[in-house]
């Protein structure tokens, strides 16, 4: 699984951080999303999928990663 975010669309809601704390954070200066782990470990993937669904701005997309 590989995570891409669109920081143009992101409106800094923090839903992703709330849902998958190990994977997402928000930038200090503008509150927009930062991906801490673009290829999240298996244990975090369900939470990441949930975050994609919750994101109010549709700013997170998933694709198959190197190790899927």
């Amino acid at each position: 699984m590989r995570i891409t975010v669109d920081t143009e669309r992101c409106m800094g809601s923090g839903m992703c951080v709330l849902t998958a704390e190990e994977v997402f954070d928000q930038r200090e200066d503008d509150g927009k999303v930062v991906v801490l782990r673009p290829e999240p470990p298996a244990g975090d993937r369900d939470a990441v999928r949930e975050a994609v669904g919750l994101c109010p701005a549709g700013a997170i997309t998933l694709s198959a990663g190197d190790r899927t």
Binding site: Q26, G53, P56, G58
Partner: protein, 401 residues
């Protein structure tokens, strides 16, 4: 396109008797017919009522549906040819891009998950102070004035930089905007005096910046009128909503003793419990949008200019989205609800509200193990459906001293 939609002729004004936490039955019934219904606005304009979870989400995510104040039509009152002016500078809740972003963007970094969590300790302290005062003065107590209102009010005032001594009169005025029962004349007076107060506050921050959001914003390119508008919506949105979640939430817990016992027994349940209370109560019930172009939604063609009522509380009870939607289940695993909205207007203060509730509910239950209603549940005074935010006016409670 599509089949003839279910049609609603009037919007309900009452909740079902004895079920103060449920949306009016007419709305639940409308959802049963389908996620979108036709609704004729007073004055004859054809509009829509959206009650299904997926469709509400779709409308809120689609910027072809505008939040602009000047396009809005009151859902139950015909104001005739009265022309609604655009939202004043700073009041971005009722604006579209790019105006909306100009005001929201500089605030985003100040309401992140991390920043709000840093307030946990302060919230614990403020909560403990109010619980101490309540214990000293009672039993009984009115939970609204002793607990639910002051905690969020102290927090948002501290964040913004409203001096503690000035909070009282300010809060009284905000109450008048929000209770749904104040007459127009008093409403105008409350609005004017709030505006005057905020103008003074902004001037004071410019002259003597302190460590708060409003002072920080004086360093941006926003002018005084814009800052006043931002302060107004932050205070209005931050004081009343969380207060009603805390008081109505306590009422709901007291009416579901097995759920209350579960939360008391396992404070780690608090995070989930707060999300479920948000869903179940959906105190911010309804918001309006206006179609800027023709848009197809759920098989119906919404014409440009048509008003759309999005019913968040009905959507949060959608049986296609939640199992047993009318049940309060604090351990519910299905995440995601619309209590804070969706899309670009999704609540700016949601992470603050979450931390406040995650601290305050367990603290209240822990402090008063025998907490109970001091009146019959039927006698609890509820806000009318005309109020923008639902809630209880007073919640008389008692406990074994």
């Amino acid at each position: 396109m599509g089949e003839a939609p279910h049609t609603i002729t009037t919007l309900p004004t009452e909740r079902p008797p004895g079920r103060p936490f449920d949306p009016p039955p007419e709305l639940v019934e409308a959802r049963r017919h389908g996620p979108i219904s036709a609704y004729t606005f007073p004055g004859g304009k054809q509009g829509w009522l959206v009650t299904g979870f997926d469709l509400v989400r779709q409308v809120l995510a689609d910027q072809r549906f505008s939040s602009r104040k000047e396009l809005m039509l009151h859902p139950t009152v015909d104001y005739g040819d009265f022309v609604v002016p655009p939202a004043p500078p700073g009041e971005f809740l009722l604006m579209d891009e790019p105006r909306h972003g100009r005001y929201r963007r500089p605030l985003t970094a100040r309401f992140t998950v991390r920043r709000m969590r840093l307030l946990t300790e302060r919230i614990e302290q403020v909560t403990a102070e109010h619980l101490d005062a309540m214990a000293k003065a009672g039993p009984p107590a009115d939970l609204v004035t002793a607990f639910a209102k002051p905690i969020p009010a102290v927090m948002i005032c501290e964040l913004l930089g409203v001096p503690y001594e000035e909070r009282g009169s300010f809060q009284e005025n905000v109450d008048k905007f929000m209770d749904g029962e104040t007459n127009d004349e008093d409403l105008m007076a409350a609005y004017t005096s709030t505006q005057e107060y905020l103008a003074g506050l902004v001037a004071a921050k410019r002259a003597n910046p302190t460590d708060d959001v409003l002072s920080e914003l004086t360093e941006s390119d926003l002018d005084d009128e814009e800052l006043r508008g931002i302060a107004l919506i932050l205070l209005a949105a931050g004081i009343d909503t969380t207060a009603n979640m805390l008081s109505l939430g306590t009422f709901a817990l007291l009416r579901h003793p097995e759920q209350l016992a579960a939360l008391r027994g396992d404070p780690a349940l608090a995070d989930r419990a707060v999300e479920e209370l948000l869903r179940y109560l959906s105190v911010a019930k309804t918001f309006m949008r206006t179609a800027l172009e023709d848009v197809e939604v759920g098989g119906q063609l919404i014409r440009a200019g048509s008003p759309v009522i999005a019913s968040y509380h009905t959507a949060n009870r959608d049986p296609d989205r939640f199992t047993d939607p009318h049940g309060l289940d604090l351990a519910r695993q299905e995440g995601g609800h619309l209590a804070f909205g969706h899309g670009i207007h999704q609540c700016l203060g949601q992470q603050l509200a979450r931390v406040e509730m995650r601290v305050a509910f367990p603290a209240l239950l822990g402090r008063f193990p025998t907490l109970r209603l001091a009146v019959d549940p039927e006698e609890v005074d509820l806000r009318p459906e005309t109020a923008d935010i639902y809630g209880v006016k007073r919640l008389p409670v008692t406990w074994d001293a």
